[in-house]
Amino acid sequence: MIHFDKVSKIYSDESVALDGVTFSVGSQEFVTIVGHSGAGKSTLIKMLLLEEKPSHGTILFEKFDVSRLRRRDVPKYRRRIGTVFQDFKLIANKTVFENVAFAMEAAGRTDEEIAADVPHVLNLVDLRKKIWNFPHELSGGEKQRVAIARAIINQPDIVVADEPTGNLDPVNAREIVEILKKINSLGTTVILTTHNKDVVDAIGKRVITMEKGKIIRDDKDGKYAL
């Protein structure tokens, strides 16, 4: 489904974020990418989301080269990927409902579909009662669940979670991991980056370990090994 082929990201001679990274992610897979800060995990995610373009190499999504996408096709491509971030990235002046609905509006869905689907998904992440609250009225765990609801509302092919438990306590972190596992069990590919040992060990699926912009391990049923 996704194939990184000798992908490098070089900002300057002293600053190489990714160095010839090659790996593939299959459909319905759950892949955890681990590594210390600065290992290149977030750069890898940014390139998958086309926030940045590789200096060398190609990134294939299904059969097309992501970095060759035309500008006007980028939003359509991004709608196929649900994203969850450490800092939640919710829109501060929109309610929980509006934050989730925005992803559907951007995809051109009708008001009727939005009115039916948003409460349903918020129910799945146990936020039905907070539907009209603003992000600043939610706890960290609740904010992250809103982000997950927004990520899955358009039934994407893949969910990318960049350090989603980084700002959460262990209880909330475990809940988020459980939700991600559930999403994966329903057939969605999940790519998760983290440096939390407990999270990695709790998932017990494929683990890619990165260091200084390179992949140093790729274990099918991996554990945290740094």
Partner: protein
């Protein structure tokens, strides 16, 4: 999804954004109010300038004095000829020799010696006068030359004097002052309009800067550039429209106060009456300028954050 429902959605997002970002919206509206007030002031400055210039222009004319024995039909024929000239502001005033005499008597009614001297003369010693105004100050020289040609022609002996040449220096100086005044007016208008555009653009740019993270999130969830941009453009138009309305309201007491304080000091223009009589045009100018400035500024400000 239909265009209408898409428009409704973005318009609603624009209104909601305007309302919920209350402080940013208020700051933007206030700054745009100041700039539109400055812009609106140029309308009044130009009106004052035009009135003053017109006042000066209306005081300039050419008098052509005829000899006492000049025939009336010759003078009227010349008058008809002059009226056909494109640079003449109609009507050309014909003052008969009898009226000139009467005016002279009135002017000197307290001067016995002069009146007695006049009575001793046989008949009317005065000739008729043509009073001519040009459409533009710069055309007086041409008109004076026309009469000079007539004076040196066959029937020219009947023209005694053309007063332009006595007043030439004064007319030229006034002409230069009028042209200078117009140029200064245009320069002030352009400078203030540019200043308004710059200040508005920077204000909106700052309000958009506050929303840069929001824009980044919108892009990440797959919103198209157009879908992200439209609510900002609508909010920008609302800042401008609201500021335009405020300024329109502010000009009511401001012009009233100026009028009652200085009256018709500025070249006979009552600023308050001008505001009331031109309310429609001023309202459209201010509100439309505000909307256009606000929306174009937003469009340009958001564009910066939409590059991949």
């Amino acid at each position: 999804m239909t265009l209408w429902s898409n428009f409704k959605r973005t318009a609603k997002a624009g209104f909601v954004g305007f309302w919920r970002n209350g402080f940013v919206s208020l700051a933007s509206v206030l700054i745009m109010t100041v700039t539109l007030f400055v812009f609106g002031t140029t309308i009044f400055i130009n009106a004052l300038l035009e009135t003053s210039i017109h006042e000066v222009e209306s005081r300039v004319d050419i008098n052509v004095y005829f000899t006492a024995d000049a025939k009336e039909e010759d003078i009227l024929a010349l008058k008809a000829k002059v009226e056909a000239l494109p640079e003449i502001a109609l009507p050309v005033e014909y003052i008969t020799k009898e009226t000139v005499l009467e005016n002279f008597r009135k002017q000197h009614e307290n001067d016995e010696v002069t009146l007695q001297s006049l009575a001793e003369l046989d008949g009317n010693p005065f000739g008729a006068v043509l009073n001519i105004r040009a459409k533009e100050m710069s055309q007086y020289e041409g008109i004076a030359l026309f009469f000079k040609d007539v004076q040196s022609g066959d029937n020219g002996a009947s023209i005694q004097k053309i007063n332009y040449y006595n007043n030439k220096q004064a007319i030229d100086a006034l002409s230069r002052a009028v042209n200078g005044g117009r140029k200064i007016g245009a320069a002030i208008t352009i400078a203030l309009a540019l200043l308004s555009i710059l200040i508005t653009f920077n204000t909106i740019r700052l309000s958009t800067y506050v929303a840069r993270d929001e824009i980044a999130v919108m892009r990440l969830v797959g919103a198209s550039n157009r879908y992200i941009r439209e609510p900002f453009v609508i909010a920008g138009a609302m800042y401008g429209g609201a500021a335009g309305l405020f300024v329109l309201g502010l000009f009511y007491p401001a012009t009233y106060w100026i009028s009652s304080s200085v009256g018709n000091f500025f070249g006979g223009l009552d600023v308050f009456a001008y505001y009331i009589n031109h309310f429609g045009e001023i309202a459209i100018l201010l509100i439309v300028s505000g909307i256009v400035l606000g929306s174009v500024s937003s469009f340009l400000a958001v564009r910066r954050y939409l590059r991949i």
